[in-house]
């Protein structure tokens, strides 16, 4: 296929280059070309949020972004949160507060909660419920996810570089 673009971007701090058709979705590039299967696919209508990544400082549904739009972008996925064997405060929080059961929505949840806390370091429960409403969960009923985010907020989590 002649219609391919080379796209270079940063993934969890590392430089990557991919050659893709314009129609290739970022979620597929991440999962299949770059072997980052943390972000998941849960729908095709951009509702569930399981594919959420942090793209240039924004929580974005990677199923609704074309890889060709990501030239020079900085992408953070769940795989980038643990640094030198140390878990991020959100990862600690989800474990401590039982914020996950099947784990499928968890990478998207943590990635979204990360940006939420960067922008709103001391959110109320109401804030958390409103600002996490782009991530669906069927197992937890959200209550312990709220607690997990609150736990992390108390640790004043660092920026992930």
């Amino acid at each position: 296929m002649a219609n391919k673009h080379t796209v270079s971007f940063k993934l969890n701090g590392n430089d990557v280059d991919v050659v893709v058709e314009p129609r290739e979705l970022l979620i597929h590039t991440l999962r299949e070309r770059l072997a980052h299967t943390g972000p998941h696919i849960g729908c095709e209508t951009s509702h569930c949020g399981a594919c959420t990544v942090d793209l240039d400082g924004m929580s974005v549904k990677s199923c609704t972004v074309l890889t060709v739009q990501c030239q020079d972008a900085e992408v953070l996925t769940i795989e980038g949160f643990e640094q030198n064997g140390e878990l991020h405060a959100l990862q600690e929080g989800f474990t401590q507060k039982h914020g996950l059961q099947c784990g499928y929505c968890t990478p998207g949840m943590i990635t979204r909660a990360y940006r939420l806390l960067q922008e709103n370091p001391k959110p109320s429960e109401e804030d958390i419920r409103y600002w996490m409403a782009g991530n669906l969960c069927r197992c937890t009923g959200y209550q312990n996810i709220v607690k997990a985010v609150q736990y992390a907020a108390e640790q004043t989590p660092k920026e992930v570089s």
Partner: protein, 287 residues
């Protein structure tokens, strides 16, 4: 889940974008935030052969004040609007509306220009723009022109935008100090289009209405300005009976489509109720 093949173009300037639109005609679509278009392409309801991505055009993003106007670049995102201290202070109606659109992730990408130019009566900004008396800067191969919101929304998925034109800027007259505002939106859940929604701006003189602006979302083929409802309130006392009458007049221009959100009767009645809610809240906020 997988769009059809297409060619992707990332122009570095507005003239370049316009040239691409001219070249590819109706086989091309503009890509703004992509959160209306890409989902449609993934289920193959939309199959453009060329995508013209406005994402690299930094000049299309930003919020500034010029005289008595707020000027907002068309690629400004909903999230930008929500966090903008200028918009929070000068035009809180926009913030309230943006907060009711989509979900947090959608709002990082969804743009005010995309929401306006899609021509979808379910989108929220058109009614807000009608209520604010906004105007739009359109740039095309014939140069630049400014079109009032009142003249922009023509029909279902049809606006005044010519095929080779790009909406570049939204100009909003800053509401006078003390103006009350409210966007009341009834929806089934986060991320849903409005079952019915009403935008109100209201300024009072004592307990009578000095000026009022009422616009409706998803109640017809386009966003609708409820002029008779507005007329019925100007110079009147804003009591329960007046608000009920305004609601009734707003309902009288409704022509909503029946769908899973409700039948015509329900949606019309909800337009009435959202109008009442919006008037009540705007009244509380008016000083």
């Amino acid at each position: 889940m997988i769009p059809r093949q297409f060619e992707y173009h990332a122009p570095q300037s507005v003239p370049e974008a316009i040239a691409l639109l001219q070249k590819y005609g109706d086989t091309a679509k503009l890509l703004a935030g992509g959160h209306s278009l890409i989902p449609m392409m993934k289920i193959r309801f939309a199959e453009p052969e060329h995508l013209v991505d406005l994402g690299k055009l930094a000049e299309l993003r930003g919020i500034r004040e010029k005289g008595k106007e707020l000027r907002i670049g068309a690629m400004t995102t909903e999230n930008d609007l929500i966090w903008s201290t200028v918009v929070q202070k000068k035009c809180p109606l926009l913030v309230e509306a943006a907060r009711l659109i989509g979900d947090p992730q959608v709002r990082y990408k969804g743009t005010i220009g995309g929401d306006i130019s899609h021509g979808d009566p379910g989108n929220d900004h058109p009614a807000i723009m009608l209520a604010l008396g906004a105007s739009f800067v359109l740039q095309g191969s014939n140069g630049e022109r400014v079109v009032a919101a009142d003249d922009f929304f023509l029909d279902l998925y049809s606006t005044a935008l010519e095929p080779d034109e790009v909406l570049t800027e939204i100009r909003i007259p800053v509401p006078a100090k003390g103006t009350g505002w409210c966007y009341a939106k009834l929806k089934r859940k986060t991320g849903d289009f409005a079952t019915a929604a009403t935008a109100v701006l209201l300024s009072m003189k004592g307990d009578t209405v000095k000026e009022v602006s009422i616009a409706l979302t998803n109640a017809g083929a386009t966003a609708l300005k409820a002029r008779e409802a507005e007329d019925s309130l100007r110079g009147k006392k804003l009591d329960d009976a007046a608000m009920a009458e305004a609601a009734r007049l707003a309902m009288s221009i409704c022509d909503p489509a029946e769908d899973q959100r409700g039948d015509v009767e329900y949606k019309t009645a909800m337009t009435g109720e959202m109008t009442q809610r919006a008037l009540r809240t705007a009244h509380e906020r008016a000083k």
